[in-house]
C-alpha cells in the first residue's frame, strides 16, 4: 500500500489519489451493492451468506433496488437484517409470508420477498407459505434450506433427510419415529396461484450461478404480476451437520442434495416433480463421476 507524507509533515496517510492495491480493490469490487458490510457473524463454511449475496445481486442486476422490501423470518440469516441495505420488516418465526402479504397489498408496486429457513418456513409456518402461495400473492418466498435448526445448534427440521444425525436424532432421522422429510417445493408447485418454483444450491460455483438465474426469474415473475414465486436454496451448515468446514459442500451433495434435488419445479405453468428432477439429474451425475474415475472430464 503506497503512503505519502502530508505537506505539513503530519506523518504518512493513505494516498487517495491512486487506486488501492489489488486486495482492497477485489473486496470493493466483489461486495454486492446492497450489502452494507462484508462482515457477518455466521459460522465458517455457512452457505447462507452466499445465498444472501446471490439474491442481492439479482435485485441489483434487475434494477429493482428501490422497490425492494424484505421480510425476514427467525434463524441464523436474521443476522443479515442489519447488513443488507434493503427496507426490512422483521417477522416472527414462521410468519413472514403473511407479513409480506400485508406489505405487498399496501405497496403493490414494490418487490417483496421473504427470507426464511427450513425451521421457520417448513416447520413453524408451513400453513403461512402454503396459503400465501394458494392466494397467488405477488411476493417471492425464499427458503434457505440446510435441513437443520442451525441457530439452536443442530436439531431436526421437517426437511432433515432420513438418516441425518442431529442433536435430537442422534442415531439418525428414522421415519418410524420422526416421519419423512417434506419436499416443500412440490407442495407449493401444485397450487394454482403459483407461477414459479425452483430449488437451487450454493455448494459449488455452477450451482451459485444457476441459483442466481432462479432468483432473477422469481423476481421477474413477481414484477410481471404472474403470481406467487418461490426459490429454495440448499445451504451448507457444517456446524449443524457436525462435519469439518471444508466438507460442507460435499456433504450437501451427498445428503440434502440427493433428496431435495436441484432444478426448476414450475415454470410457465409446467410442473416437474422432485422425483423427475432426480431421474434427470442422477444419471448425469453418475456419468460425470464415471468420467472422473476414468481419468478426467472432457468439457
Amino acid at each position: 500500500m503506497s503512503t505519502t507524507a502530508t505537506p505539513r509533515g503530519l506523518g504518512p496517510v493513505l494516498d487517495t489519489r491512486v487506486a488501492p492495491s489489488s486486495g482492497a480493490r477485489v473486496v470493493e469490487a466483489q461486495m454486492p451493492d446492497l450489502l452494507l458490510t462484508e462482515e457477518h457473524s455466521l459460522c465458517p463454511g455457512c452457505g447462507e451468506p452466499l445465498a444472501v449475496r446471490v439474491f442481492l445481486e439479482a435485485i441489483t442486476e434487475l434494477g429493482l433496488t428501490q422497490q425492494a422490501i424484505a421480510v425476514a423470518g427467525i434463524g441464523c440469516y436474521t443476522a443479515f437484517s442489519g447488513s443488507i441495505d434493503v427496507d426490512l420488516v422483521q417477522a416472527l418465526h414462521g410468519r413472514a409470508p403473511s407479513v409480506a402479504t400485508g406489505v405487498k397489498r399496501m405497496l403493490p408496486d414494490s418487490v417483496v420477498f421473504t427470507l426464511q429457513g427450513d425451521g421457520d418456513m417448513v416447520n413453524e409456518g408451513l400453513q403461512e407459505v402454503l396459503h400465501t402461495a394458494a392466494r397467488g400473492e405477488r411476493v417471492t418466498c425464499i427458503l434457505l434450506n440446510n435441513g437443520v435448526f442451525g441457530e439452536t445448534g443442530g436439531h431436526m427440521t421437517s426437511t432433515s433427510v432420513l438418516g441425518q444425525r442431529t442433536k435430537n436424532t442422534i442415531d439418525g432421522r428414522d421415519a418410524e419415529l420422526h416421519g419423512y422429510p417434506i419436499l416443500i417445493g412440490d407442495l407449493i408447485s401444485r397450487l394454482e396461484g403459483v407461477a414459479y418454483v425452483a430449488r437451487g444450491s450454493v455448494h459449488n460455483a455452477g450451482a451459485v450461478a444457476r441459483t442466481k438465474r432462479m432468483f432473477r426469474r422469481a423476481f421477474e415473475t413477481q414484477t410481471s404480476g404472474a403470481g406467487f414465486s418461490f426459490v429454495e436454496v440448499l445451504t451448507m451448515c457444517p456446524t449443524g451437520w457436525f462435519v469439518p468446514t471444508a466438507d460442507g459442500p460435499g456433504e450437501l451433495q451427498r445428503t440434502l442434495g440427493e433428496v431435495h434435488v436441484m432444478g426448476e419445479l414450475k415454470v410457465d405453468g409446467k410442473i416437474k416433480t422432485t422425483e423427475e428432477l432426480h431421474d434427470e439429474n442422477v444419471p448425469r451425475q453418475r456419468e460425470i463421476e464415471a468420467k472422473f474415475a476414468a481419468g478426467g472430464l472432457d468439457i
Binding site: L88, G102, K104
Partner: protein
C-alpha cells in the same frame, strides 16, 4: 348508503359503525377471520374498504390476520385486525412483539364476555408490554374511540385495543360518523416503502433492536429498555367518566356496555335518595387508579360490577388501596350459546345488586349459578380447623 362519512344520524349496528369510523380515521387495511360476535366487523370491512381503495383480507387464520395487518402497518398505512378474545389468544405472540417493533396496529376484541379483561390489560402474551385499551359503553362512543385508537396508535407507535362485546357489535343506534381531528402527528419516516433501499439508509421495522449497519443499534436489551421508558408516558392517556361520586357512600366501578346498565341503575337509585356514585374507566389500561382512589376516599364500600368471575376488581382494589372494602358484584352470565348477553345484564338485576351492597346485605345469587354450583365430592371434604 355507500359514503362512509355521514353527519346525519343513521340507524346502524355497532360493527358497521366501528368499520365506518375506522375508515373515516384513515384505516385502509383490515385482516380478519370470522368468529362470533366479531364476524360482522370482518363482513363490513370486506364490503366497505374496497370502496375507498383499501384492502380487506380474509385471513386463513388469526395468526395470519395479525401478520398481514403487521405488514400493512409497517408500510405506514393505518391498519387493523381483530377477533374475539379466543381469536386474540391465538394472536398473542404477535400482539406482544408488535409492541417491541413499535408497529401502530389497532386491534378489535368483540369479546364474548368481560372475562378478557386480564388478556387485554395484563397482556395475554409473553414479555414486558402494555397496550392502550379503550372500552366503549355504546355505539356512539365506539365511533369516537375507534377513531381515537388510530390516533393513539400512531402517536405512541404502540398497539391499541378496542374492547367491545356482543352487545356493542350487534346493537343498532342512530349515529353520525364524522372525521375527528385529534391533533398533528409526526411523519412515519420509520415505515418501509423500498425507496431507501440501496441508499445506505434503508428502514428496518423490527422487535429485535437491530438497526442497519451505521445506524443506531438498540440491541435486545436496549430496545426493551427503550420501550420500558416509553410505557410510563402512555399512562398520560388515561380516560374515565365519573357520576355522583362527590357525596357517594357507595361507589361502583364498571366498564364497557355493562357500565351503561350500571349508570342507568345508579341514576334511578339516586332519584330514590341513595347516595351511590360510579367511576367508569374508558381506558382499561392505563387504568384510572387516581380517579377511583379519589372517589373511594369518603365511601363506605366500593363495588366492581363486571360480567366475569372478577378481574376488574383487582385493579379496583389496587386503586382503593384499603380505604374501603371492595366487593365483586357481578358473575358469569351469557346466553345459551356462550357468545351473547345473559340474564345478569338487566337493569333490575344490576340495581338489586348495587342496592344490596349499599345496604350491607348479601348479594343475591347469579342467575344460573344455583343450578350449576360446583359441589365438593366426599373425598374433597376437608376438616374445618
Amino acid at each position: 348508503m355507500t359514503a362512509t362519512t355521514s353527519s346525519e344520524r343513521v340507524l346502524m349496528e355497532g360493527s358497521e359503525a366501528i368499520v365506518r369510523a375506522a375508515i373515516t380515521a384513515g384505516c385502509r387495511f383490515f385482516a380478519g377471520y370470522p368468529m362470533t360476535p366479531f364476524t360482522e366487523v370482518l363482513e363490513h370491512s370486506a364490503r366497505l374498504l374496497p370502496d375507498v381503495g383499501g384492502v380487506c383480507m380474509n385471513a386463513e387464520s388469526e395468526l395470519e390476520a395479525v401478520g398481514m395487518a403487521w405488514g400493512a402497518a409497517a408500510t405506514g398505512a393505518r391498519a387493523a385486525t381483530g377477533s374475539t378474545g379466543q381469536g386474540l389468544s391465538l394472536m398473542q405472540e404477535s400482539l406482544s412483539e408488535l409492541t417491541l417493533a413499535e408497529v401502530p396496529l389497532v386491534v378489535f376484541n368483540m369479546s364474548r364476555s368481560q372475562g378478557d379483561y386480564f388478556q387485554a390489560t395484563r397482556g395475554g402474551g409473553h414479555g414486558d408490554y402494555r397496550h392502550i385499551v379503550l372500552a366503549p359503553q355504546d355505539v356512539r362512543e365506539a365511533i369516537e374511540l375507534t377513531q381515537l385508537a388510530f390516533h393513539l396508535a400512531d402517536k405512541w407507535r404502540n398497539p391499541v385495543l378496542v374492547y367491545g362485546d356482543y352487545l356493542l357489535a350487534h346493537t343498532q343506534e342512530a349515529v353520525a360518523i364524522e372525521a375527528r381531528d385529534f391533533g398533528a402527528l409526526p411523519d412515519k419516516e420509520w415505515a418501509v416503502d423500498g425507496s431507501r433501499s440501496g441508499s445506505g439508509w434503508s428502514a428496518t421495522v423490527t422487535p429485535l433492536g437491530v438497526g442497519k449497519t451505521g445506524q443506531r443499534q438498540f440491541g435486545q436489551e436496549g430496545k426493551a429498555q427503550y420501550i420500558a421508558t416509553k410505557l410510563p408516558l402512555l399512562e398520560r392517556e388515561v380516560r374515565f367518566e365519573t357520576g355522583h361520586v362527590d357525596d357517594a357512600e357507595t361507589v361502583i366501578v364498571a366498564f364497557g356496555t355493562p357500565a351503561k346498565f350500571v349508570k342507568y341503575a345508579i341514576d334511578q337509585l339516586r332519584a330514590d335518595g341513595h347516595r351511590i356514585g360510579y367511576v367508569r374507566p374508558i381506558t382499561l389500561w392505563p387504568f384510572p387508579y387516581d380517579a377511583v382512589h379519589a372517589a373511594a376516599a369518603n365511601a363506605r364500600v366500593v363495588g366492581s360490577f363486571e360480567v366475569s368471575t372478577g378481574q376488574l376488581v383487582d385493579d379496583v382494589r389496587i386503586a382503593v388501596a384499603g380505604q374501603a372494602p371492595v366487593e365483586h358484584l357481578g358473575g358469569v352470565s351469557t346466553d345459551g350459546s356462550g357468545f351473547g348477553v345473559g340474564r345478569l345484564l338487566d337493569v333490575d338485576e344490576v340495581a338489586t345488586r348495587i342496592l344490596a351492597l349499599h345496604r350491607g346485605e348479601p348479594q343475591p345469587p347469579i342467575p344460573g349459578y344455583e343450578e350449576f354450583t360446583y359441589e365438593l365430592a366426599a373425598h374433597q371434604q376437608e376438616a374445618t380447623p
